[in-house]
Symmetry: C2
Subunit: 334 residues, 2 copies
């Protein structure tokens, strides 16, 4: 363990003779007992885990019995934990799920987001079509919220912090992080995003990683969600995205999930380890690189795998296609 | 002067109860003598000034006599220093300039870039038109390079570091920064971008700010370029961009110019002061905020001006249009 009080330099952006930009961050690896195995920066740093918390936000959906009551497939459980691309695969799957629970796109509280699937996005611009809620990267999570809302017979305002869905999420969030949440921010999709520490988030991920070894309802629910993510990496993000490509490239089953503002987590069921990572400045290019570097260090990823190098050590190309630099993990850190 | 060895926290990104992300940086303010008036972080930090160096890269165009030989208007001098939007205003002006020097878009070495003008960009997608070199944000700088190339009777490979244009730029760059450049990186537009220190870049900007007071060719050239930028803020960037809006909002004449990877400069002719700013992690949201904060501190900008607040303290909205947080300068820093 090499914990320090401030964030540590993790990633360099190199151009010509110098590291032009630098990214610092915090990272914690926890074991099944919730103890820190290794840490960089400050484990007590308070953070918002953003979309890296989606499997925590999906826990009540499974633990309540709602997932079974609505016969949710593992694809739908993966979508509940996803920040998807809004590609046709995702949009069709969410539409079918909404129909099966008797809800429509209009019931989704997340705002409309342009699809991140290039062909679909450009096609929609050409057809003068507006962005849609179903293409919001969180539409699977929200359909999970709607499913739980229906199961509980609760009202439609499922993103209100006092709503039964959000109260249930806060309760399990505090249970698996092992901490009282000091507050919440409103996320990009309008759901509350509960704060915790770097250590709390790593502990929660280790809870998921070790869930198969326990028989209680919450652990069994966590194991099902982690398994669903691992089984369906394309549903969790999409083509070309770090979560999907790194899960597909991994040498062992692992769930990997990004969040806005430079957050990332990993769940390693074969080792019972959970990883939390926050890039201080919120840059995705740096969190993509640093999570890959941590997983290479752990032996989960192979640094020479082309889909790993894409995130661990990507070249930077300019408008003329010339390689002008690279992003890389700072030597000696991981 | 409050110089420190490492970068200092400058900007916070707030969501709910906490500063979710933080940006550090270096900044230096120099006077006409090249001395540091005030500094944050490390004045000796080596940096690439990226597009904040465009007025330096345009100096030989004017000092050589090429600008007068081709009767360049002040609009064209401003375009030579610009990172423009590729809006119709800019594209037409560059096309006319290319025609006047007997060159075409095909002579530009900068790669093709999609227009950043929303209507034009979406229109081009709908018409299935490809991005064009003339819309590259650096096309004015490159047309300046072509103008100087023609004036010198040099070959077409004007971005080669050994080309007469780049040798002339390196020479004046080292003269006005007061330092030997330790090397260069290749920029997004394929031109060499010479390295210097934070202090060197602030000294160069103070050279521009005080150029009116001197009678030598280089100083007179610098004064013409700074005046052109101040006279034509729309040519320097475009609608909605920090450079343009902050120049237009300023209480006194000032040239303000962004660069990639979180760089920013300001030239204050009425005070003979030059400002250089680098956000460590390269984030534009932070450099926009920090340059505004520095210029508010200096009394150049009014913190309550709506076009200043847009960059100094912008709200963050989510996909549903809800305000979920804000970007702000860290209290007590500026």
């Amino acid at each position: 363990m090499s914990a320090q009080s401030g964030p540590v330099e993790m990633v360099e952006v190199v151009r010509g003779p110098l590291a032009e930009s630098r990214h610092t961050g915090h990272a914690v690896i926890c074991d099944a007992s919730g103890e820190i195995v290794e840490a960089w920066g400050n484990p007590d740093q308070v953070i918002l885990p953003r979309s890296s918390a989606k499997m925590l936000q999906a826990l009540p959906l499974v633990a309540s019995g709602a997932a079974d009551a609505f016969s949710l497939t593992t694809e739908r459980l993966a979508l509940a934990c996803a920040s998807h691309q809004g590609a046709p695969l995702h949009n069709a799957a969410v539409a079918d799920w909404l129909a099966d629970i008797g809800r429509t796109e209009d019931d989704l509280i997340c705002g409309a987001e342009p699809s991140r699937d290039k062909d679909l996005r450009l096609g929609m611009i050409r057809r003068e079509e507006e962005p849609r809620r179903i293409m919001n990267n969180c539409s699977g999570k929200h359909t999970g919220f709607l499913t739980l809302t229906k199961h509980l017979g609760a009202g439609p305002d499922y993103c209100c912090p006092e709503h039964a869905v959000q109260r249930a999420i806060k309760s399990v969030f505090e249970e698996v992080t092992g901490q009282t949440s000091p507050g919440y921010g409103i996320d990009g999709c309008s759901a509350p995003n509960f704060a915790t520490t770097m250590h709390g988030m790593a502990r929660a991920m280790a809870f998921f990683a070790s869930a198969e070894t326990r028989g209680d309802v919450l652990s069994k629910s966590a194991a099902r969600l982690a398994s669903a993510m691992i089984a369906h990496p394309m549903h969790v993000a999409g083509e070309g995205r770090a979560c999907t490509q790194l899960m597909q490239a991994a040498k062992e089953p692992v769930a990997i999930k990004t969040g806005a503002e430079g957050y990332f987590i990993a769940i390693l069921p074969e080792r019972g380890l959970g990883v939390s990572l926050k890039i201080t400045d919120g840059a995705t290019r740096a969190s993509d690189c640093a999570i890959a570097a941590i997983l290479v260090r752990l032996g989960v990823l192979d640094a020479d795998h082309p889909d790993v190098k894409t995130f661990l050590n990507p070249p930077i190309h300019n408008f003329a296609g010339t390689a002008t630099g690279e992003i890389r993990a700072k030597a000696g850190v991981f």
